[in-house]
Amino acid sequence: MATIPIGAGPTITAQRVARRRYRVFFRNAPIVPLLIVTVLALVAVLAPVIAPHGKLDPVKPTQDRCLAKYGTADCPYVDNVPPFWAHGGTLDTPLGTDFLGRDVLSRLMYGASISLVVALTGTLFAGAIGTVLGVLAGYMGKWWDQIIMRITDAWLTLPSLVFAILLSSVRGPGLWNVVLILALVFWSRYSRAVRAEVLAIREREFVKLAEINGIGKLTIIWRHIIPNVMNTVMVLFSLQVGVAVIIEASLSFLGVGVPPPEPSWGLMMAQERESLMEGRWWLAVFPGACITMLVLSANMLGDWLRVRLDPQLRNR
């Protein structure tokens, strides 16, 4: 009779388990959006190092360029230089220059950091506020639930962009004001979704057992409720980032967001509306393309994350 010695069979190491989990999680991951978001994030972080020129200062022109453009050897900048592949373009400013002779590529790079910082922090603050209120409403119930949810319902009826413009006109333009506005506009979506989740979780055995054992409410919220709603929060977060990017761009486009001369993508588009009429398409199209890519990628990632973190959808 053959015997199998203990420990001689195939062993599953922790490393293999992790690798397997990793593979499963990233199965069907949207590679292109992931790549775009990663590249944009890297560009945003490294902009001061990799940008060929400054974000605010015009590119110093050569005498030849000044002569060609203005007929004088000395000029502070050369405006509206086209991209390098077009006639008159140069590799020094690969995507051309704007009306103040600033390098479009460099401004797009710095613009990525503004868009991402504003969208991520705004959504993060909104998530924090909404999650706390949603958990309180769902777990504490009674008048907590009544008050928080009625305010949430009222908040949800406000059209987000109009509300953002209103808040922005009260607070004034500014990068951190936009963050605050995004937090104030979006918290209600989290709070509504989180409350629904908490209503189900609080009836589960582990919560009931904790309550029977006399564990305090705050501890239960912290140890048992919040960890269980984080999946929902993460999915909402990833879906809201795209919307936040659009709101930030819209506010800046309307002149109530990030104030000039900071290179926000929305603002860059707004400033070059006239240039479109003059055929200088690159000035408005590149920031527009950046916004589209970021929003699309964020939404696709959010969608994928939603599927991966939802057990019902994941096992289909």
Binding site: L56, P76, F99, G255, P260, E274, L276, M277, E278
Partner: protein
């Protein structure tokens, strides 16, 4: 035949006798007794034949509309654009002259400037048919709360209504600048408001649905966006040339340009910056460089020691850092002129800023940096905001760019025109803190003194400057009734303001506007509509004609 001649003679004699018997005052009959000041007021041009209004004039204003601009009692900002439509003044700037009779047909001032008298035209009425009398003139004066209202109230002793058409204003002390400020362009107080209507609808009601004695009746408005007016055929001077006028607030230059090209607009203002070249090159559009006033910068709160602009060297550095010739080239295709005064040369008693009376400020970046270092800012400094006049945001960013090159860094506060006007109309009080630069322009007909009074003396309603040296000169100016001395003092103040860089002039703004072929006469230069000296807008509106 003899009977007919006799009958006509009898009727004429009787008619004249009746008129005389009713005591109808003739235009030239004096009102005041004693020596009078010499006033140069031009006669109104009354059209002998009343035409028929035709067509619609669509105007693209370069900023949003404020319903407050329909109410002369609360005058501020560019409200005269609308006053000339809906309202009428006793005297006002017109193509004939800076002082032109309008509702008044006769005016007098006593030689010691303590009395002013007006006689209204016979048969005047408001657009609702209610007669316009001296009671309305008195009510308007007493209820006015706009620019300079305190001065008007402080100077007034009493108002004497002689009859329905004759009114005398008695002042406590000589009010030499009265006519300058009472004239339509100086304030809102000379624009007569219908007291019966205003009292009935209230202040807000009047802003919503204004009514006056002007050539156009208000029809409707979408607050901040657009307003529509229709011709009032019974206007005393002539029937308006166009049947309707629509004014739309379009901040976006590209949208105004598109409006002109598609025929949505017939007249658009503020064609500048990126699309000016396109306007100049378009064979269908006619344009005109209407030189209005110089752009200039002010420093609210500069006189507080904690402000970086407290130091004259910093203010000088601001001026030296701005490359005016390049700015003019980029922003106005070289049409504008770098200028050394903040008041237009078309204003009376203004010093020319073209180098003849005041030098054109130079561009010297190295000197600007040196001055900043001497002032204790070797690495420059950050200030809170640069506040431009809406919608000239590109121009503002060009200036910010120049300032940054010298080390003065900031960001731009983009306000829409109504908000900007409301803030700037409060002067220094409109801008909290003391680290802000405000870009301004104030084109208006009249004397330089009116602008000094408003912006550059301590008591000015929109004052940014309060300096003992200027106050002393201004006090002398106010005490004097000698015109030559007053002019000299006004010029001295202007010189100090510029030399001390309390205000930094930029360039004389060519307020380029464009009209489409719909505007008549075809092919003609459009400047005929802009004949009023230093008028920022092409009033009077009743003379405009378009194809039906």
């Amino acid at each position: 035949m003899r009977k007919t001649v006799f009958a006509i003679g009898a009727v004429l004699t009787l008619g004249c006798g009746v008129a005389w018997g009713q005591g109808a005052p003739s235009a030239s009959k004096p009102i005041l007794t004693g020596p009078l000041a010499k006033l140069e007021i031009k006669d109104a041009k009354i059209e002998a034949v009343r035409g028929t209004p035709k067509g619609t004039l669509n105007i693209g204003l370069h900023f949003g509309l404020d319903p407050g601009w329909f109410d002369p009692l609360g005058y501020y900002g560019p409200a005269h654009h609308f006053y000339y439509l809906v309202h009428d003044a006793l005297i006002k700037p017109m193509p004939q002259g800076e002082f032109t009779f309008s509702l008044a047909e006769h005016a007098e001032m006593s030689a010691n400037f303590t009395k002013a008298a007006f006689r209204l035209r016979p048969g005047l009425k408001f657009q609702d048919g209610h007669p316009l009398t001296t009671a309305d003139v008195k009510w308007t004066y007493e209820n006015y709360r706009g620019y300079n209202f305190k001065l008007f109230q402080d100077k007034l002793d009493r108002i004497e209504i002689v009859d329905d058409r004759t009114i005398v204003l008695h002042f406590k002390e000589p009010f030499v600048d009265f006519l300058d400020l009472y004239n339509g362009a100086g304030s809102g107080i000379g624009w007569i408001v219908p007291s019966h209507y205003y009292e009935r609808v209230g202040k807000d009601g009047f802003k919503t649905r204004p009514m006056g004695a002007g050539p156009f009746k208000f029809v409707s408005q979408e607050a901040g966006v657009q307003a529509s007016f229709e011709a009032w055929n019974e206007y005393w001077r002539r029937a308006p040339g166009v049947k309707a006028i629509n004014v739309r607030g379009i901040r976006d230059l590209a949208a105004r340009m598109a409006g002109l090209q598609t025929g949505e607009l017939d007249l658009a203002y503020g064609m500048t910056g990126k699309l000016l070249q396109r306007v100049l090159a378009d064979p269908k559009l006619r344009w005109d460089p209407n030189f209005t006033a110089p752009w200039h910068l002010v420093f609210p709160g500069y006189n507080e020691p904690s402000s970086p602009f407290h130091d004259k060297r910093v203010r000088q550095a601001v001026s030296l850092a701005i490359n005016r010739p390049f700015l003019v080239k980029q922003e106005t295709q070289g049409i504008g002129k770098p200028w050394g005064n903040w008041i237009s040369h078309e204003n009376r008693d203004a010093l020319r800023g073209d180098g003849t009376e005041l030098p054109v400020p130079p561009y010297d970046l190295a000197k600007a940096k040196q001055l900043l270092a001497q002032a204790g800012f070797p690495n420059g400094f950050e200030f809170d905001w640069y506040v431009p006049f809406a919608p000239y945001f590109d121009m503002a960013e060009r200036i910010l760019n120049d300032l940054r090159a010298a080390g003065m860094r900031s960001k731009m506060q983009m306000l829409d025109a109504p908000a900007y006007m409301a803030q700037t109309s409060k002067g220094r009080k409109g801008f909290p803190g003391n680290r802000t630069i405000v870009q301004r322009i104030d084109p208006r007909p009249g004397g330089a003194k009116a602008l000094i009074r408003l912006y550059a003396v301590c008591g000015g309603q929109a004052s940014y400057i309060c300096e003992p040296q200027i106050e002393a000169l201004w006090a002398k100016h106010e005490a004097s009734i000698d015109p030559a001395e007053r002019d000299r003092l006004a010029k001295e103040i202007q010189r100090i303001l510029v030399e001390e860089s309390y205000l930094v002039p930029l360039y004389l703004n060519p307020f380029v506007h464009a009209v489409t072929p719909k505007v008549l006469p075809e092919g003609d230069p459009v400047h005929r509509y802009w004949d009023t000296v230093n008028a920022p807008f092409p009033w009077p509106w009743e003379v405009w004609e378009v194809k039906g």
